[in-house]
């Protein structure tokens, strides 16, 4: 502690340079925090995907439909516990930028298949009583400021109505909460029975099946058995683990994780050069002072420690401010205005941030510190 003023006095020497370096480090860590939250948003589905759930879809593509009667056939297969179907609605609420997922599902089966959506008994009952009722996640409700009893009009892009209309009206009767922070609460579930009797075409056709297997270790075998069941039929299937499915879905936008990692690597590499440069200069400019410190009795190791501590102080001040600001920005809401299923900076990633700070301090400081360590007093004093 008594060396603290010595450490900071080194940094105070060139205030502008120190300030700019701290700012650069801060910006890097703001980016780190913010981009991490974005990546988290894309990964969230994968991470919380049920290990015991498969997705069964049309072999050709996700937008091709499957017959509704596959459900009983799938449930008869060995190792299958339960199956339920979902159908993508793809409608627009007010304007296209208000994107969120809408799905036609079977209520009782949904509760059974997805325990991560927590719904009160009253809400469940209300939904079962209202054919045009909709179950909406807490996040989505807050995004649009909806409340129970609201009538929500959705313009169809795929599914016209029998009466020729394209505007579907749903009644908000139930809200679900996520069982944990990572749970997607941005979904909009409405009843398949209502959907099937109202839509103009495609009766009896559904989007995909969610299947729960009795033994997660046998998931691969069960998936193969399902696909074999429908091989050579008019609608062949492709079954995969829910995690892999969600990943594939996210990858349609691009490999977000890879893009973000690339950006961050480039930023960190640049900032490392900036910090390393600052440290190299403080040592070079202070050759004489460091020699004097050694002359009055500081050891080689002591001087090494001093320079590393300076590097640590520099990156810590910048990094901690950056992480703090990132946290603040993230908590102010997601950049799409709510399209992300989740948006937060997990504690684990904050921890990773602090590990990065320490690593950066070390890498930026170690070479100058070693130079300071091996400085010969008599030599350095002559310069």
């Amino acid at each position: 502690m008594k060396y603290l003023y010595l450490i900071f006095s080194g940094l105070k020497r060139k205030k502008l340079r120190t300030g700019l370096t701290i700012l650069s480090i801060m910006v890097a860590f703001i980016l780190f925090g913010y981009l991490t939250a974005i990546r988290q948003a894309f990964d969230a589905g994968v991470e919380v995907a049920g290990a015991d759930r498969l997705i069964v879809r049309h072999k050709v593509s996700l937008i091709q439909l499957l017959p509704q009667n596959y459900e009983t056939k799938i449930e008869r297969i060995d190792g299958v516990d339960n199956a339920t179907h979902s159908t993508w609605f793809g409608g627009i609420y007010q304007e296209p930028r208000n994107f969120f997922a809408q799905m036609a599902i079977v209520p009782e089966e949904l509760f059974d298949m997805f325990p991560e959506y927590v719904v009160s008994d009253e809400h469940k009952a209300a939904w079962l009583e209202t054919r045009s009722g909709v179950l909406v996640g807490r996040g989505l409700v807050e995004r649009f400021g909806w409340k129970l009893g609201d009538r929500i009009p959705i313009n169809a892009t795929i599914w016209g109505k029998k009466d020729g209309g394209r505007t579907w009206e749903f009644d908000l009767v139930a809200i679900y909460e996520g069982i944990e922070k990572g749970t997607d609460t941005s979904q909009f579930f409405f009843r398949y029975d209502f959907f099937d009797e109202t839509r103009a075409g495609g009766t009896g056709q559904v989007g995909w099946y969610s299947v729960r297997v009795s033994d997660p270790d046998k998931a691969t075998e069960v998936a193969a058995a399902i696909d074999a069941e429908f091989a050579n039929s008019a609608q062949e299937t492709k079954s995969e683990a829910e995690g892999a499915f969600v990943q594939g879905f996210a990858n349609q936008i691009g490999n977000i994780g890879f893009i973000i990692m690339s950006i961050m690597s480039a930023v960190f590499f640049t900032i490392l050069l900036v910090a390393g440069n600052t440290m190299a200069y403080t040592v070079r400019e202070r050759t004489n002072e460091l020699a004097v410190l050694k002359a009055i009795g500081f050891t080689d190791r002591g001087v090494l420690g001093l320079i590393l501590s300076e590097s640590m102080a520099l990156t810590f001040v910048g990094g901690a401010m950056g992480l703090g600001l990132a946290w603040l920005l993230v908590s102010m809401g997601d950049p799409t205005g709510g399209s992300f299923p989740v948006f937060y900076l997990p504690t684990r990633q904050l921890f990773v941030g602090f590990v990065l700070i320490v690593a950066m301090a070390f890498v930026a400081g170690i070479i100058p510190a070693l130079q300071a360590k091996k400085l010969q007093i008599a030599d350095a004093l002559r310069r």
């Binding site: 008594k2 105070k12 020497r13 004489n288 002359a295 009795g297």
Partner: protein, 234 residues
Amino acid sequence: MTEFLMNHMMVKVRGVDKIFKRGSEVIHVLGGLDLSIPKGEFLALMGPSGSGKSTLLNLIGGLDRPSEGTLEIGGKRIDRLSERKLAAWRARHVGLVFQFYNLMPVLSAQKNVELPLLLTKLSRAERKKRAAIALDIVGLSHRAGHYPRQLSGGEQQRTGIARAIVTDPTLLLCDEPTGDLDRKSGDEILDLLQALNKEQGKTIIMVTHDIHAAARASRTLYLNKGQLSTEAVD
């Protein structure tokens, strides 16, 4: 010299060689040099530029190591100490005063003087107190909070001396302490060194080019061609 006197030697340099290698060039600065300095002496070291005065001072202060020979300072062989032990020894036993003061520009006079005390176990309050005493001895109490750039050359050098004596070392090594000062400030520094020698019994070795400065010392030696003599040889 008698046994009695030998045991009262502060500095015993025996057969010291110092060779510098600059690329393929070998510079023989000191060759088989012997030197004894009794406790409490104020020795002036003169000689032409490049004769090795600073080199010798650095060897005695443990800032550098001899190529050959032994150095015994205050009864301790320092030429064989490890880097860490040597650093600890310097911190305890040697005070250094430089021609260009070598103060930390970002620290106040008080903090500069306190610097060597950071290496001791003294409490913060004790460090402050001792630095204040040292500044008082050099007559700079009133400038304690000032930064080096706010001080005159003479004041900076007095701060340098305060830093050198704050750990109460027995040996003070001064390399051209007045070399960068005008006559008046230089005289003040010399008064101070003389007082430290007479009143506090510090053993002082002072390198100088100035005969007037050397006249303040109790003895003057001349370094030339790697050897010491009592007479100037031109």
